[in-house]
C-alpha cells in the first residue's frame, strides 16, 4: 500500500521564473485535452437543452428561435415536477442513509471479526458490478405477487403486501433495490477507510475504558467522516440517475408514485412527446445536481477541517 499512502507534498522551492513558466506550460498542455473534451461534451449538450427549453412546449428536437421562459413558468407552477423532485429527494436520502448505516455497521463488525479476508471482498463486490437492468429484472421476478420468492415466503408469515401496486411500498422497493445492489460496495469502501485508522488510537481509547461501541462512535467514525461523505457523494452521483429499476418494475406507477425526477424527465420527452417542456425539466435537474454536489463538497470540507 505504499503508493497509496498519504504523502505530504514536497515543500515549495524557490524556482526561477523561467522554470516556473516552463512548468506551467506543460501543465497547461496536459490539461488542454481534458478541458476541450469536457467543454465539448458537457457545454454543448447543455446549451442545446437550454435552447430547446426556450422553444415551444411540444415542438421538435431541432432548435428554433427562442420564444421565452414559458416552459419554466409552467414547470415551476406545476405540482408534477415538485412531486418528482420530492420523490427523488426521498429516494436519495432513504437509500443513502440505509446504505451508510448498514454499510458502516457491517464494516465495523467485519473489521473486528474477519479483517482482511479476500473471500469477503469478492463476495461484497459483485452486486455492484452487475448491470442495473439485470438487477431490476431479477427483482421483478422475485417480487411477483403470490408466486415470487419474496411474496411467497412473506405470505407464509402473514405479510401480504402488494409490492409494486401501492405507492409507498413501490417507492420502498425502488429504494431497497438500490440498497441491495450497493450496500456491499459501501461496506467494502468503509472497510478500506477503516484500515487507515491506526491501531494505536483504538487501543488508547480502549485502555481509557471505552467499550467497543463507544470507541466506534467517538473515535473511529469521526476519523473516517470525510471518507464517509466521499462515499455518500459517489453514491449520490450514481443514485440520482436511477432509471432502469423504475423502467423495469413500475414505469412510474402506481399512478405517479415512483415517477422520480429522472423518470419524470424521460416521460416528458418520450411518453408525452413534450420536447420543450422536457428540456426545461432537464435544465432543472442539472441545477439540482450542481446544488447537491456543492452542499456535499462543503460538508466534506468542513469535516476535513475538524
Amino acid at each position: 500500500m505504499t503508493v497509496l499512502d498519504r504523502h505530504a507534498p514536497a515543500p515549495t522551492r524557490r524556482m526561477s521564473t523561467r522554470r516556473r513558466a516552463a512548468s506551467a506550460a506543460w501543465r497547461r498542455a496536459f490539461l488542454t485535452p481534458l478541458l476541450v473534451v469536457l467543454a465539448a461534451t458537457t457545454v454543448l449538450p447543455l446549451l442545446y437543452m437550454l435552447a430547446l427549453s426556450l422553444g415551444p412546449r411540444q415542438g421538435q428536437l431541432t432548435v428554433g428561435a427562442p420564444q421565452g421562459l414559458h416552459n419554466y413558468r409552467d414547470l415551476l407552477t406545476s405540482t408534477a415536477v415538485w412531486h418528482a423532485l420530492g420523490l427523488a429527494v426521498v429516494f436519495l436520502v432513504g437509500a443513502l442513509v440505509v446504505e451508510l448505516v448498514l454499510g458502516l455497521t457491517a464494516a465495523l463488525l467485519l473489521d473486528r471479526l474477519l479483517p482482511g479476508n479476500p473471500v469477503v471482498r469478492t463476495l461484497l463486490l459483485w452486486p455492484a458490478v452487475l448491470p442495473p437492468i439485470a438487477v431490476a429484472l431479477v427483482f421483478k421476478y422475485l417480487l411477483q405477487g403470490d408466486v415470487g420468492l419474496v411474496s411467497y415466503y412473506l405470505a407464509q408469515v402473514g405479510v401480504d403486501q402488494a409490492w409494486l401496486t401501492e405507492p409507498v411500498s413501490a417507492l420502498a422497493v425502488i429504494v431497497a433495490i438500490d440498497v441491495w445492489q450497493y450496500t456491499p460496495f459501501v461496506i467494502l469502501l468503509a472497510l478500506t477507510a477503516l484500515t487507515a485508522v491506526p491501531d494505536e488510537v483504538r487501543e488508547a481509547a480502549a485502555l481509557d475504558g471505552a467499550g467497543p461501541v463507544a470507541v466506534a462512535r467517538r473515535v473511529v467514525l469521526p476519523m473516517i467522516k470525510p471518507a464517509v461523505i466521499a462515499i455518500a457523494m459517489l453514491r449520490f452521483i450514481d443514485a440520482i440517475q436511477v432509471f432502469p429499476t423504475i423502467y423495469a418494475l413500475t414505469r412510474g406507477g402506481p399512478g405517479t408514485s415512483t415517477q422520480l425526477l429522472t423518470y419524470f424527465n424521460y416521460q416528458a420527452f418520450f411518453g408525452q412527446l413534450q420536447f420543450g417542456y422536457g428540456a426545461a425539466i432537464a435544465v432543472l435537474v442539472v441545477a439540482f445536481t450542481i446544488v447537491c454536489v456543492m452542499l456535499l463538497l462543503a460538508w466534506q470540507r468542513r469535516a476535513e477541517a475538524s
Partner: protein, 279 residues
C-alpha cells in the same frame, strides 16, 4: 495484512454480530442465487405457483435463448464500447491528473468541483441533444456515438481518481526522472504511471463498468447495429412470450462476464474507489 486487534467484544456481542452479518449475507446472496437456480429450471417448474428448490436442472432455457436471440452482436458492441471508452478516458485523464497533482492546489479545488458536476450530469439531459447532434453528423446507431457520449463521465471520474493516485506518488520520482533528462511526457508515461499501475487499473475498470452497464444512452442512441448487452436484457422485459426461466437464463449469461471481472480484477476496483474516498 494481519493485525492484532484488541477484541473488546464479549461472546454474546460476537454471536449477535455474527447473526447480523449472516442475515446480511443471506439478504445479499439469496436473490441472485435463486435467479441462477431459475435459469436451470425446466419451464413447467419455473411457472409453478411457488418457489421450487428441488428439480432436475436443465440447460433448455439457455439453449432456447441461443436459438431465438442473438447475443454475439450486443456482446461485441459492449466490449468495443467499454474497452474503447476506458482507454480514451485514461489517455485523456492521465496527463490532466498529473498536471493537477503537481500543480497549485488552489486551481485543483475548483477543478474538482466541475469534474464532479460533469460526472453527475443527468443522462437524460445529455442523451437527447446527443441524439440530435449525432444524427446530423451521421453517427446514429454507432459505437463512436457511445464512445463520445461516455466521455464526460468517464474522463471526469478518471481525472478525479487518477489525481488522488498520483498524489500518492512521491515527487522525488519526478525529480529523479528530470535529472535523468526526461521531459514531462516521458516522466508521466515511463516513470509515474508504471508506479501508479494499480491506480490506472482501477480507473480502467471503473470506466469500463460505467460504459458496459449503461442503459439509457444505448436506449436512446443505438438501434440494431450498436445495441449493447443491457439493451439485450431489456428485450427480455418486453417479450410477450418469454418465460421467467428464459429471462433468468439471459440475465445469468449476460452478467457472467462482469462476475468474472469482479473475481479476477476486483482488488483494483476496490483500491480505486477507496483511494477516492481515503484521500
Amino acid at each position: 495484512m494481519s493485525r492484532r486487534r484488541t477484541d473488546g467484544l464479549g461472546p454474546v456481542a460476537k454471536v449477535l454480530a455474527g447473526i447480523f452479518l449472516l442475515v446480511l449475507l443471506a439478504f445479499f446472496t439469496l436473490p441472485t442465487l435463486y435467479a441462477v437456480l431459475t435459469a436451470f429450471q425446466p419451464p413447467l417448474v419455473a411457472s409453478r405457483p411457488s418457489p421450487q428448490w428441488l428439480f432436475t436442472p436443465t440447460l433448455d432455457s439457455f439453449r432456447s435463448l441461443f436459438v431465438d436471440y442473438s447475443f454475439i452482436g450486443p456482446l461485441l458492441n459492449s466490449i468495443q464500447s467499454s474497452v474503447g471508452s476506458s482507454l480514451l478516458a485514461v489517455v485523456i485523464a492521465a496527463p490532466a491528473a498529473y498536471a493537477l497533482s503537481r500543480g497549485r492546489s488552489s486551481n485543483a479545488g475548483a477543478m474538482g468541483f466541475w469534474l464532479l458536476c460533469a460526472r453527475a450530469l443527468p443522462a437524460i439531459g445529455v442523451s437527447i441533444p446527443a441524439y440530435a447532434i449525432f444524427n446530423q453528423l451521421g453517427l446514429n446507431d454507432t459505437i463512436v456515438a457511445l464512445l463520445l457520449v461516455y466521455l464526460p463521465y468517464n474522463v471526469a471520474l478518471a481525472t478525479i481518481l487518477l489525481r488522488v493516485f498520483l498524489d500518492g506518488v512521491p515527487r522525488e520520482i519526478d525529480e529523479a526522472a528530470a535529472i535523468d533528462g526526461a521531459g514531462p511526457v516521458r516522466t508521466l508515461v515511463r516513470v509515474i504511471l508504471p508506479v501508479a499501475r494499480p491506480g490506472v487499473a482501477s480507473v480502467g475498470i471503473m470506466t469500463f463498468l460505467f460504459a458496459w452497464n449503461n442503459f439509457l444512452f444505448p436506449l436512446v442512441l443505438t438501434g440494431s447495429k450498436a445495441a449493447t448487452v443491457p439493451l439485450a436484457l431489456q428485450q427480455f422485459l418486453g417479450s410477450y412470450t418469454l418465460q421467467w426461466n428464459e429471462v433468468m437464463a439471459g440475465v445469468v449469461l449476460l452478467s457472467l462476464p462482469l462476475i468474472l471481472l469482479a473475481v479476477t480484477l476486483g482488488r483494483y476496483l476496490v483500491g480505486g474507489v477507496s483511494a477516492g474516498s481515503v484521500k
